[in-house]
Each structure stands twice: as C-alpha cells, then as structure tokens.
C-alpha cells in the first residue's frame, strides 16, 4: 500500500508545530518576566521541588547537563536561583530559588491562561490531548 507522505498527515509534524505554537503563545507573557520557555519549565519544577539537583531537573524535564548548565547559569546571573555544591556527595549541585524566583510564581497562573487564547479546544479535548501526548512519551513498563 502506498504510504501517505503528505506533511499534513504526519503525527510528528502536528506535534512539532503544536509545541512551537504553544511556546510562541507563552513568549509574550514570559518575556516581560525575563524568562524563556525552558526557564519557565525549570521554575515549575523548582516551585514544586526547591533544592533539586541538576540531574533531578534533567530527569523531570528530559534534558541533559549540556542544556541545563548554561540555562541555569543564565537564570543564576539573572538572580532567580543559586547553585551550591553543598551536598555530602560532592558531585551534586543543588539548585535553590531566590526570593525573586519564588515571587514569579504569582504570575504563573496568568501565563498558563494565555494558552487558551490559542485554540478553540474544549477543556475535555485539552485533557485528552495532554494525556495522549504523555502516553506517547511514556516508555513501556520494564519487564522484570
């Protein structure tokens, strides 16, 4: 059977375009806060788990130290967080929010809301989209 190679039929392109559209929608809300979208994701983790290590952040966000190290350096020099090698395990770097980093949480709800201006999806459809996207990423359960 002839496979359909049309761009518009590709699941991969639909996800790629949707992801970029969402970050574009967030940008005008984040830019006045001095944040990029990946930096906002780091804050989401830290608001939840302040004091995470770099590798903790990497596990949550599926990013490696090659991405996180310079990103965290920029956030540190922007005064949003501090990195310390203060664990008994001398390899670990813990990341702690500053007051400025914690304060940005008050704007997060407003940032979230701008996603709805992008689309006409119903709340149920958005939930369905989120769960399907999460199941696509979830690795199959390991066989013990």
């Amino acid at each position: 059977m002839e496979p359909d190679l049309t761009l518009e039929h590709q699941l991969c392109f639909a996800l790629y375009a949707a992801s970029r559209a969402v970050t574009s929608t967030y940008r005008p809300a984040l830019e006045p806060l001095g944040l990029t979208y990946p930096q906002y994701l780091v804050l989401l983790v830290l608001w939840e788990s302040d004091g995470s290590t770099v590798s903790d952040l990497g596990r949550r966000l599926h990013l490696d130290s090659g991405t996180l190290s310079p990103l965290l350096r920029r956030m540190e020099s922007g005064g949003l967080l501090e990195r310390h090698r203060d664990s008994p395990d001398g390899r670990l770097v813990t990341v702690h929010l500053t007051d400025a980093g914690r304060a940005l949480r008050d704007h997060a709800e407003e940032v979230q809301r701008c996603l709805w201006s992008l689309s006409t999806l119903s709340p149920a459809e958005a939930l369905s989209l989120r769960d399907l996207a999460r199941r696509l990423v979830a690795e199959p359960a390991p066989t013990p």
Copy 2:
C-alpha cells in the same frame, strides 16, 4: 481556586516533551541519511511540491527565512537541492530537488515506521492525537 502548577499537569510540557521524544526517535533513522529532522520536513514538502519558494516552505512549516536560509544552504551543499532566483519575480528563490534529494523518498516510509516503536498508542489514538494537535495550531477562521 488554586491553579495546578505541577509540571506533569501542563499541556504545554506534554507537547514539548512529546515533540522532542518524536524527533529523538527519528534521529537514528535520519542520521545515516545525513538528515536532521527539520531537513526531513523540508523534503516532505518538496517531495510533494518541488519548486516551492522559500516563503512557500515557510508557510507550510511555520518557519521564517532566518531558520530556512541556513538550513537550505546546508542541504544545498549536501547535494540534496538547488536554489535558483529564476522566477519573473526577482525576489523569489525557488527550491528544486536534485536526483539525490528525490532518491531519499524511498527511505521515508521506513523513517515513519520508527515512530510506532516509541509508543503503545493505537492507530486510532494516534489519529486523535494528531487531529487535536492540529486543531490546537489552527488559527480560528477569519471573520469576513
């Protein structure tokens, strides 16, 4: 009501993670062909509409010339396509596949297949995910 700021509850993160997971899954199939994922998307358009202009490609892929110009230059120097300013309109640059660029189409079906190794989504769920993602991106119909 308290908004849920947990990373895992965010639609934006689910899409961001899913999109990156998909391109990671494609990478081992594309790398032996000498392609990156965005370059593969350009080929998808050109296999369908050879001779498109740079702005045609930009409209289809939602990318601007700042992204496409260097990307097309790399593909041109890789022998996959040629750029010509041969239109009656002297501003337009048309992009034509070479034989090498056309030949890669034979590998595309195999590239597509590796997406299924990523997930346990049924074909119907994958269709649903694709259509929800597309509706998220689709701008509302203009009011005439």
